[in-house]
Amino acid sequence: MIKNRFQYLAPTSVEEAANLLAASPGDTEVIGGGTWVVVEMTAGDRDPRRVIDLKNAGLRYIREEKGAVVIGARATYTDVVRSAAAAKLPALVAMAAGVTGGGQLRNRATLGGSACYGNPSSDVPGLLVGLGATLTVRSAGGTRSIAAADFFTGPLRTALQTGELLESMTIPVPAGMKQGYYKFKLAESSWPICTGTALVGADGSATVTIGAANCRPVTVTGSASDLDGLARAAEAAITSPFSDTLADGEYRKQIAGAIAKRAVKAAV
């Protein structure tokens, strides 16, 4: 049982949610699926006075818009797996289908929530950076867009300002490029330890974004025909390796090259 009392709010539009958040942003938590915030509240690690639940705010959608897939902040991993629009992004679908925790977890957890949590050791940051996503955030004053590469600023840190909440993520469909996603975990129960999101062009040019290994996702470019070169580049790009209880940064850096190669192989 959560130890301290709080006010529960379920606004019916994103504008209303932003206005509610603006009223007292310092002691308010916003929940999408809630799979991280609720757990931390239960554990006493977060202690808000108000909770804004986005369930009725109209943010559970995935649609195609101008060559991109737009994902509402409240869309779940299962929504992604079932979405016709998201099927244009096989790397995204592979990532969503591979999220640990069973169907129960994928039915509730959201990409948006994971993005806002900003845990380096997870799937979403590396994938969004790797696919060149843009995040739309809303405050009482309106919306602004942030490139994924700028959104994830460090371990458990994002570019979200006080009073802002995530509205949607826009992922361009990479025309003429093959996509690959590879995730390495220590065991099934493990958080991602190193992920690779690869885009491979018809000419063999390859871009690989390594997630979970560095404090912020890192992107390297090279050729799909020179995997060893890509691997070396990936390892070298890990300049501020991320450490947590499961794995220290040194280990993550050691395997980053192998993961980069596997992501490219998954794409071609």
Binding site: A187, S189, I255
Partner: protein, 800 residues
């Protein structure tokens, strides 16, 4: 020395149930959500307890200030350690190291004076809801004098290491040092063709049933008695523990263990929260409930051993000497039986191998980690892993096939009962045959070619073998760990049977197994038997669940009790049928005369015994109730000429085989196939036995690959939830392929041996050997558990 059995050996003739795969009793209730676990009970007026745990691994408690919490309207009651002392004495140690010449320290329901681990209880509160109680903890102010701490077992043994206990007798951090020495190791080593030395680190991991611990204590001020609904494996022993700590007689305590959601040792007695809920209940006159949270359950660990061994062996692979002086980092001292696993780890060497000279010394050392608690295998699992590593190292050194080295060192089947160097009297077995069957299970002979082909493609696959000896059904002298148990069988006037027994089930289904024995003995339907366990006011005295003892002790006791009932039924039926007793057959609810169509329903005979006691049933004494104890043979507690005792009646064994592939780029181990040949003597229900092996083996997979009680440098537990304490999930493991071999125990009535603990150490040992087999071409060697990607990659890098 073996004492002749006073019990006639016989199995019931019908065997409708014994040896059959009968389904779990009351399975439909579990499957429809009707089963009640402790957290499901709602007692009127229940209030909720939460405990404040030390944020420091080692500190002196200068002051606990409860004034702010007591002013809060949500606070019903609050206590610190000094106040709790007014209400409770130290908790008796379930297995005291002092009994074996080791050291002792008082353990109380709330710490006083000092805390010696992060997570130790320093205060407790009671509130109307658990949420409120948790919130109140923030209002408790504790003033600590922080002390230097030590987490590593070897460091704790160094001169100048922080001393955990400043009470009398604690001149160092050694809890106990126990030698198991037989023969002259140095002479053996001098005479051997070869010796090798190496180390092995067996890491700390834990039990983690999905249901955590939970207690609801109710003091009735009018009756001056407690009723305790406790998720415990051992109701009667716990009653003894609590009676001493709470200053009441055992008769003033009734413990009722509801359905348990898994035990594995965690729910054995000695936990401070057991007594603490009682203290509050007595103060308040209300039921006080406490349900353990997962981060609390993860505090309690097991098995952190550092082995330094030297092996002497000849060119033919015969091992002639083993020296292993190892430390066991048992964490802080608790009243739980955890530390005893260090003792049994030493006692279990050298498992099922004949080694003339052994010099095994275990040093149990206390550190500022949280205490150990009993864990499936109870110390016997560690030696399996280390011995099996040693066998493979000898194979590597001599160039002899690892299976062949095992064959050359096993105890032969015609040598049983076999007395080991540590004094264990192994009952029976056929280890050579067990090995052959296990090897066939995964096509050992064909593997070498597959391995070579894989290696040619750059893939590293490996085959691992591990023999496992599991001493079971312990009786530890001078402690409340009994090897005997008691069962009562009652047949009511309508012919239905109620079975009460002192053994309890943590979920394994031993209630069904014991009922199968009774059903066959009496010739009645299994469906008509009601089993009652876990209630100290109703059930006969017994020790509950541990050490694979349920069939050996409770099952055989039920057989004896059922036979007593059967004797009465037989006499009366013979009179009714005008037949000789020897001609009667008990089956399908009827007693019939062999070779005729004459029969009488058992329920009618039962009715006659109750209602015609002075007529038809004049020759027997009603009612149809019998209580019997079964003391298995082969336990010997008079020390032999070398001072050794023999605490186990039965010795199950198994041979585990594993095939793994190691990803040398990441260090990740993929367990591809796993098989086990298991021999626990006669089986009452093979399905239940297999279920035990499946679960234990997969715990062993976790031990070998992913589960780890990691600590932070500041002394806090890093792996404090299931996101960091990683147990195995269904989609990363193969089927556990089980085959049986049956060498009945000559020392138990039904020929059964213990089942339930075997698997953890054997499975882990096979996997560690398989990993080493896979990475051998790289020159790497893994000298520790778990074979997690990080440790395997480190071993691979070291070899580069």
């Amino acid at each position: 020395m073996s004492v002749a059995s006073p019990y006639p050996k016989a199995v019931p003739e019908a065997n409708r149930y014994i040896g059959q795969r009968s389904r779990k009793l009351k399975g439909d209730q579990f499957l429809t959500g009707k089963t009640e676990y402790v957290n499901d009970l709602e007692l009127l007026g229940t209030v909720h307890m939460s405990v404040l745990r030390s944020p420091h691994p080692h500190a002196r408690i200068r002051n606990v200030d409860l004034s702010r919490v007591r002013q809060d309207p949500r606070c019903i009651s609050a206590l610190d350690g000094e106040e709790a002392k007014q209400h409770a004495d130290p908790i008796p140690h379930f297995i005291s190291a002092a009994v074996f010449g080791g050291k002792y320290n008082d353990v109380r329901v709330i710490a006083t004076g000092k805390v010696t681990y992060r997570g130790q209880i320093v205060a407790a509160v009671v509130a109307p809801s658990r949420g409120d109680a948790d919130a109140l903890l923030d209002l408790i102010d504790v003033d600590y004098e922080v002390l230097p701490f030590v987490l590593d077992g070897d460091e704790a043994l160094e001169p100048g290491a922080p001393l955990l206990y400043d009470t009398e007798g604690w001149e160092d951090n050694v809890v106990i040092r126990i030698p198991f020495v037989e023969g002259d190791f140095d002479a053996a080593a001098a005479g051997a063709d070869h010796t090798l030395e190496d180390t092995f680190y067996h890491h700390r991991y834990s039990t983690q049933p999905i249901e955590t611990r939970g207690y609801i204590a109710s003091w009735d001020p009018r009756a001056e008695a407690y009723t305790l609904h406790f998720a415990t494996q051992n109701p009667h022993p716990l009653r003894w523990v609590l009676s001493a700590a709470l200053r009441v007689s055992e008769a003033q305590i009734r413990i009722i263990a509801p359905t348990i959601g898994g035990g594995f040792g965690l729910k054995m007695p000695g936990h401070p929260e057991e007594g603490l809920t009682c203290v509050f209940s007595r103060i308040l006159g209300k039921p006080v409930k406490w349900i353990e949270e997962r981060d609390e359950a993860l505090l309690l660990g097991a098995r952190e051993h550092f082995h330094r061994f030297k092996v002497a062996f000849n060119a033919d692979g015969k091992i002639v000497g083993l020296r292993n002086h190892f430390t066991a980092n048992v964490g802080s001292i608790s009243a739980c039986p955890g530390w005893g696993m260090a003792f049994l780890a030493g006692l279990s060497f050298p498992t099922g191998y004949k080694i003339p000279a052994t010099d095994v010394v275990v040093t149990a050392v206390t550190t500022n980690k949280a205490p150990w608690q009993a864990a499936r295998g109870y110390g016997k699992e560690g030696p399996q892993i280390v011995m099996e590593r040693i066998i493979d190292l000898v194979a590597e050194a001599t160039g002899i096939d690892p299976a062949e080295v095992r064959r050359r060192n096993f105890i032969n089947k015609d040598e049983f009962p076999y007395k080991t160097n540590s004094g264990l009297n192994i009952d029976s077995g056929d280890y050579h045959q067990a090995l052959e069957t296990a090897l066939k299970l995964l096509d050992y002979d064909g593997f070498k070619a597959k391995q070579a082909a894989a290696l040619a493609e750059g893939r590293h696959i490996g085959f691992g073998i591990a023999f496992e000896l599991t001493p079971e059904s312990a009786d530890i002298p001078g402690t409340i760990v009994g090897g005997y148990d008691t069962s009562t069988v009652k047949m009511d006037p309508s012919g239905k049977v109620t079975l009460l027994t002192g053994v309890t089930t943590p979920g394994s289904g031993n209630d069904g197994g014991i009922a199968q024995i009774v059903a066959d003995t009496l010739g009645v339907d299994l469906d008509g038997i009601t089993v009652i366990q876990g209630d100290t006011d109703i059930c006969p005295y017994g020790f509950g669940n541990y050490s694979g003892r349920s069939m050996v002790s409770g099952g055989n006791a039920a057989l004896l009790a059922a036979r007593d009932i059967r004797v009465k039924l037989s006499k009366v039926a013979a009179f009714m049928l005008e037949a000789a007793e020897d001609d009667l057959v008990f089956d399908q609810g009827k007693i019939s005369v062999a070779g005729t169509d004459k029969a009488v329903a058992i329920k009618d005979v039962a009715n006659v015994i109750y209602t015609l006691a002075f007529a038809t049933a004049h020759m027997v004494e009603p009612p149809l109730e019998a209580t019997r104890v079964y003391k298995p043979d082969n336990i010997v507690h008079f020390p032999d000429e070398k001072g050794r005792i023999q605490p186990y009646p039965t010795y199950s064994n198994a041979v585990h085989v594993a095939i793994v592939e190691v990803d040398t780029e990441t260090g990740k181990v993929d367990l591809q196939r796993f098989g086990v040949l298991h021999d626990c003597g006669n089986m009452i229900n093979p399905m239940f036995v297999e279920g035990q092996m499946h679960g234990a083996a997969v715990m062993g997979f976790g031990a070998a690959l992913s589960e780890e009680c990691k600590y932070n440098a500041d002394g806090s537990l890093a792996a404090d939830r299931f996101k960091t304490y990683m147990m195995q999930r269904a989609n990363e493991i193969p089927m556990v392929e089980v085959e049986h071999q049956v060498t009945p125990s000559p020392f138990t009535l039904l020929g059964v041996k213990g089942a339930g603990e075997a698997g953890v150490g054997g499975a882990a040992g096979a996997i560690i050997n398989a990993v080493n087999d896979a990475i051998r071409p790289t020159g790497a060697r893994l000298r520790r558990t778990p074979a997690s990607p990080i440790h395997v990659l480190a071993a691979l890098k070291e070899a580069q």
